[in-house]
Amino acid sequence: MARVGVFICFCGANIADYVDVPQVVEEVKHIKEVKFAIEYKYMCSDPGQGMIRDAIVQYKLTSIVVAACSPRMHEKTFRKALSDAGMNPYLLEVANIREHSSWVHQKDKKAATEKAMDLCRMAVAKSIANEQLHEISVPVTKRALVIGGGIAGIQAALDIADARIPVVLVEKSPSIGGKMAQLDETFPTLDCSQCILTPKMVDVASHPYIELIPYAEVLELEGFVGNYKVKIKKKASFVNFKTCTGCGACWQKCPVKVPNEYNMGIDKRKAIYTPFPQAVPNKPVIDAEHCTMLTKGKCGICAKVCEKGSIDYTMQDEIIEREIGAVVVATGYDMWDPKPYEEYGVGRFKDIITSLEFERMVSANGPTNGVPVRPSDGKVPKNVVFIKCIGSRDEAKGIEYCSKICCMYTTKHTILLHHKVHDSHAYVFYMDIRAAGKGYEEFVKKAQVDTAATYLRGRVSKIYKKGDKLMVRGEDAQIGQVVEVEADLVVLATAVIAPKDNPDLARLLGISYDKYGYLSEAHPKLRPVETAKAGIFLAGCTQAPKDIPDTVSQASACAAKVCGLFAGDTMKKDPMVSTINNEYCSGCQNCVKVCPYGAIVTDEVPFGHGSKEMRTVAKINEGVCQGCGSCVAICRSMAINLAGFTDPQIINEIVSI
């Protein structure tokens, strides 16, 4: 026989003024299960909670109803009060007589009071069917997976590993470093990108808690927060990294020349190559697409010259598995292809290049040893025109959003140009200068003075060839006139876009992405590094365009989240999840189909007691179940129930008034 205690709150005047609380108390006392009912000014206050604790002990209550404000407000508070009194906190029900009665029926006290009574009756009825529930604790595998070895991935991996949590870092190219490794100097301080990045790269390689898996891709992720299992494909490198010393004899001798991705195809690399001198790991890989030994079976020079015999043309892709508890996605970004700008003659004029190509040229270790040259004739350019917002902020040809970093790197480029070619002059066509950031505005101002670059506010309408010069015609909106600039070289500040395989990755991880292909955060303001899927976090440009400082901060934030997740040996979880009654389950598996979280799997149980024959039933994975109840409603044999919202509880509510 249930013994319910009802505690009705005045909430100061909030309830008392519009609901006749004493009358409600009298009314509920008539319910036969109610053994104790009392009102108080502030139930949530300490004395209020004290009354609850005492009553539980004194009247041997089996469930508690608090009639007060919305359960969304104080349910937790009162649950705590219950457990303090040694009672299972889930035996509490809250009747919402403030938001749902006193505040919305202020003109009709009688009706409000009656409604309050009904709400109490419903809560009492429900609480009678309440069951003792216990927090679910899910064991966690304390290992993190970081996807992408750019600065974001590197930072996240290091921060997590420094907390003595093992990290698996997967990078799809042969070396970590990402886009930042291609940069020359970085705004706003102009410190050399390599100088600040390479030490971190080395740390990653040497860190005892980091397992670096380069030249690999994530194939499949299964499981749930704290208990993921990931399949990783190690692409065949045809070089045995264990024995290879990285001496470089192989790629020096290799006869096959291939456009060099690292240098934006400005120069050539070999078919066996290390992407760049400072690569980590500094071991070459064979590009199976171009290696004549692998394609035609001819050559084999690298094998001959390798003293260690590390070359193995028979190497196959390898699939490895790792158990992990959390994932940090840091797949970075791509640059937009400016082909649609036909009026600029993109593709026809050699001397129009993208900013990343320019970056490589002016980079000390670049294809032209740090001197910008005209691709057409190799001459050093004097007049260079920089055009911003190529693809960015352009609904017609590109994407609507602002790429955020172009203003700053273009400013940087004018400085670099000024440094490398002293008698050069830079022209910058811009829409706005967006220099929000620490030291950014100052940086731009200073650059404008130092380089004496000509800033022209307006779009370029046409580029045409005159002799060996490029004529750049645009508008100078500030004087409202068409201007023409004679340029030796034109640099397009192309937009930052999401990596093209982001959607596939998102599907494989089971997270969402926006219309541009950027991965979506759980909340734009309050949960900017989490995804909607528990245990998967986002770092860097894979979520939206960012500069290096922002990327690094987000990466560290991810690390903090991962550490938080792994703080205990197990994760606590709300027990309000679905449960299956095998006896009733007929194994139609419709619930498996409907569950949005894949929390339901199938299980084999014997037919009746001691029967050899097995039958299929559904099985809930408590760790994954979020407690939506979709499966409960579609289960025809009512074999599934949702703790906290069971059918008996809801029926009691329905029929109690």
Partner: protein
């Protein structure tokens, strides 16, 4: 005498059945926790007044609502039901309200088919920010059902008599 009877409210499904004087309908409101229940709380906090006929049940998601919750409500205590959930695409549980939407339509049509007035079963999408909308919805539902008079189809008591 004639006139009196006229003024009295009759059950739309059973014109023979006359509502008791100053009869007030009972409406069972089943709200999803994340949008509509939060929305109804907002209605309270912003002190927007609405008729007191509705009795609210909290469920985690509109997809938790099994059609026979409605059937049972109508058979026992309620003269009408209102189910409310998150707007399509906003479901806290990704896709719950889409499954619910299908069940709701079929249930509504079926109940109407066997003789319940369609206004006795109503649905709404109310987001956590739509306090005013929740009040509007409750107002409409209450008015509709007041017009329909008391529901007396398949009520338990009708049949215990015989």
């Amino acid at each position: 005498m004639e006139a009196e009877v006229k003024d009295q409210l009759v059950s739309i499904e059973k014109p023979g059945l006359i509502a008791p004087p100053n009869w007030e309908p009972v409406i069972m409101g089943i709200l999803c926790n994340w949008c509509s229940y939060a929305g109804s709380d907002l209605t309270g906090t912003s002190r927007i007044q609405y008729p007191p006929n509705i009795r609210i049940i909290r469920v985690p998601c509109s997809s938790r609502v099994d059609p026979w919750f409605l059937i049972k409500s109508l058979q026992t205590t309620a003269d009408g039901v209102l189910v409310s959930g998150c707007h399509p695409g906003d479901c806290h549980y990704i896709s719950g309200n889409y499954y619910a939407r299908r069940r709701f339509l079929v249930t509504k049509k079926l109940l109407n088919f066997v003789g319940f007035h369609e206004n006795r079963i109503q649905f709404s999408w109310v987001s956590a920010a739509e306090g005013p909308k929740f009040a509007k919805v409750v107002n409409k539902v209450t008015e509709d059902i007041k017009k329909l008079g008391p529901l007396h189809l398949y009520k338990k008591e009708n049949f215990e008599k015989k």
